[in-house]
Point group: C2
Chain length 470, copies 2
Amino acid sequence: MLDIKSIFYPESIAIVGASANPDTLGTKNFLEPFLHFGYLGRLYPVNPNYSEIMGLKAYATVRDIPEKVDYVICVIPASQTPQLMQDCVAAGVKVVALYTAGFSDTGEEEGIRLERELLQIASYGGVRILGPNCLGVHNPGARLIYEMESSTRSGNVGLCSQSGGNTKDLIATGSARGIYFSKVVSYGNAVDLNEADFIEYFTDDDETGIIAAYIEGIKQPQRFARVLGQAARTKPVIILKGGQTEAGRGAAASHTGSLAGSKEIWDTLCRQKGAIQVSDLDEMADTILAFSYMKPPGGRRVAIVGVGGGMSVQAADDCENSGLVVPPFPPEVRQELRKFNPREGTSIRNPLDASQNAYGDPALISKALQIISGCDDIDAILIMLSSRHAISRIDVREWMDQVEAVIDTGKMLNKPLAVILLGATTPEAYELVYKVQKRFSDSGFATFPSVRRAAQAINRLISYHENWEM
Amino acid sequence: MLDIKSIFYPESIAIVGASANPDTLGTKNFLEPFLHFGYLGRLYPVNPNYSEIMGLKAYATVRDIPEKVDYVICVIPASQTPQLMQDCVAAGVKVVALYTAGFSDTGEEEGIRLERELLQIASYGGVRILGPNCLGVHNPGARLIYEMESSTRSGNVGLCSQSGGNTKDLIATGSARGIYFSKVVSYGNAVDLNEADFIEYFTDDDETGIIAAYIEGIKQPQRFARVLGQAARTKPVIILKGGQTEAGRGAAASHTGSLAGSKEIWDTLCRQKGAIQVSDLDEMADTILAFSYMKPPGGRRVAIVGVGGGMSVQAADDCENSGLVVPPFPPEVRQELRKFNPREGTSIRNPLDASQNAYGDPALISKALQIISGCDDIDAILIMLSSRHAISRIDVREWMDQVEAVIDTGKMLNKPLAVILLGATTPEAYELVYKVQKRFSDSGFATFPSVRRAAQAINRLISYHENWEM
C-alpha cells in the first residue's frame, strides 16, 4: 500500500514532457521552479528529443532512469499516456501525477475510455494515479513549489483541491495575508487518489493543524463520511464545495468530470460531521486566518474600535448580521473611555469611534484597547484602521506608529483581537495595507479587508468551538 | 423658501473657524481644498484672531462680511454656535452647515438643548441648517471639494449621506472605479434639512441620473415615503440604511442622534416604493456601477467567460446564488467555440473556460465574445481577467492587449458586458488592476472585484427594470 507521505516528500521526480524551451508547460510549471527553489530530491527530465535539459541529463523514457522513481509528473498529450503508464509500471514508479487533461473532464466517450484504461494499467501494475487534470503536489518543506512566484514558507495548513487554479490562488492570497501551508495537493479528476486519501493523511499529519479542501464531487461517499468525521474531531476542517447550484454542477462536470450531488445532502453531512463550510476562496482564506491567529473567543460578544461614525454603524450591523453580539459597554468602561475621547462627534458606546484620536497619539489607542480588554462583557475585539485616512490626513510614519501600538498592546491583551485594514482604493494605499498586513501576520494577528468578512470568520471560529466543546 | 440649488452652487461661502494654521479643521477640510481646486464663488474666512488667512481677508464675525453670504460653514465649538446663528440671522445668511458636533449626537441633555436652541434661532430668523455634525456640500461642478485627494470630475450620481466618512469613502472608491458625482451632501444630525429635501431635489435635478443615499433615521416619515416614491419612479434610488440591527441602531443614535426604526418597516417601504436596497458601501458602489455602465439586460441569463476550471465552477455558483441563470450554450455555439478552444482542460459549456487562450491571442477572446453575444439564449456577459496570471505567466504588455481587445469588442456587442478583475494580491498586481480598471471605466465598462459582487449588482439592475417595466 502507498504511503501518502511519499507523494509529499518524494525522493525522486521524473518530469515527462519537460523540454529545453522554458515556455513549455512541463518546464515552466515544474522543472524550472523545482530547480529554482532547490527541490531536495533527484530530478529527471524525460523527453526523447533531448540528452540534456536545463543542465540535467534527460531520459528517453521513464524506463531508462537508473532508479525507481517515486513521483512522475506527466505533461504529454492524453493519447500518449497509456504507453507512459505501462513504462511506469515496468519501472516500479510509485505515483504518476497527470497534469495532462482530456479524460473524463471532456465528458466525451474517448476521454472516459482513456481514463479507464489508464486506471486499469495502473491498478494492475501497482502504480497510484494523482489526477489526471491536476497540478499535483506543492510542498514548501520539500522545496516542491508550483510556480516561480509561490511562497516557500511552510505553515500548518493542509490543502487538497480538485482545482489547480484554486490552489494557486489560495497560495498567492496566503502569501499576502499570512497563510502558509504544510502541504498542498491539486488532484483534478480524482480517478484514483481522492479527497478521502488526503483528508485522512492530513488528520494524522503532525505538520498540519488546519485542513482545507476544495471539492467538486465525492468519489467514495461512505469512506468520505467516515474520514471527514474523524478529521473534524481531530482538527478544524474547512471545506469549499464547488457545484452547489445547477449551473455550478454542470461546470464541475466539465471541469473534473465530477458528479457534484445535492447541496442539501452535502450541508447535512458537513453539519453532522462538524466540518466548517465556506462559500468561496475569500471566505476560506478569512476562516483559515481566524483559526490560525485568533485564540477562540469565550463567547459572541465583540467590542469594535472604529474609525468614523458611519463606519461604526456599519460595523455594528455587520457583526450582528454575522451572528455576533455588540453589547453597549458598561458605564464604568464608558467613563474610562470618556476621559480621553471628546464628547463631540465620538461615540464610546460600542463601537468606540476612535477616529478623533486614532490618528493622533498611539498611546490612546493602546489605552482604549486595554480598557476594553478588561471588560468582562466582551469576548473579542475588532479594531479598524484606515490606510486612506493615513495617506490623506496624516503622515504614514505616524500611522505605522499606531500599527506598532496595536501590535504591542494586542500581544498583552487577554482577549482575541482581529485587525480590519480599510481604504485600499489607490495603489499607494494598497501598498501600505500590504506592508501593514504582513507586519500584523508576522506579529501573530489576523487581518481582514472588512468588518463583515472578519465577523463571518470569527462567527465560524466561535461556532466550531461551541460545537466541539459542548 | 430656500432653493436647494443655492446650497450646491453657493455664490459665496464663509468659513467660521478657519485659521492660518493649515492643520486646523476649518482650513484643512474646507478653506484649503476650496482654494486649491478654485471654488468658483467668493470665499470669506471668519476668525477674530486674524486679519488675513491664506491670502484672503479675514473677518471677525459673519456680520462684518460686506455681502449676504449664501453658505456658512461652522467649525467652532458647539457652545459658540448660538451666537454664530444669531449673527447669521442678522447677516441674512441662507444656510449654515455645521461641521461642529456635540449636539443630539452626544445623547446628552445639554447637547439636545443646544441643538433645539440653534434650530429655534434659525427657523425664526429664516436661516436653514445643514447638519450639525456634517461635512456639508461637495460639488465638483462648483469646485467645492471636501479633501485635497478628492476627485474633481463631475458625474451623474447624486449622493446624500448622514455620515461624512461614508461620503468620503464612496468618493474615493468612485475615483478608482469610475463613479462620479453630480452633487454630494453630508447632512449629519439632520435637525433641519434632511434626506427628503435632498432626494426631492435630486429627483428634479437634470445633472443627477442616479440617486444614492446613506440614511440612519428618517426625520419626516410621511413626507419621506412620498418623496421616495416620486424619486424611484423617476430614476434609480439606491439606499444604504445604517442601523438595521439592535447594535447598529444604538450606534446610529450615538452617531447622529437618529431613531433608526425597524428593519421590517424599512424593507417594506423600499419594496413598495421601488427603491433599491444595498447592505454596505461596496454593494452601493457595485450597484451604482452596474446602473451607470451597463445597458439593462433583457433577462437573467448570463454567459461567463472564465479563467480556470475551479474559478468557472465558483462563478457559476455565484451567479445562480445571486439570482442569475447560467444556461448551457446551445450546441451550435459550443461547436463554434470548440474550433479554437482545445478539447483538453477547457470547458465550453458555459462558463467558457478561456484560460488556455485568454493569455495568448487577443483575437480569440474577441471571437469568443462575439460568438457568445450572438447567442439568443444569453442576456448579458461576464468576463473574468486575472492580473495574477498576467504577472506570473505572461508579459503585462500582452495582458494589456487582451484588455484592449475586450474593450474594442465590448463596444460592438449588442449585450451588456461586465468585467471582473481578479488577483490583486500583491502591490504589483494591484497597480495593474487599478490601471486597467480606469481604462475600462473610461471606455464605458463596469469592473468588479469578484463574480459574486458583479452578479449581485447585475441582479439588482435586472430586478429594477423588471419592477418598473411591468
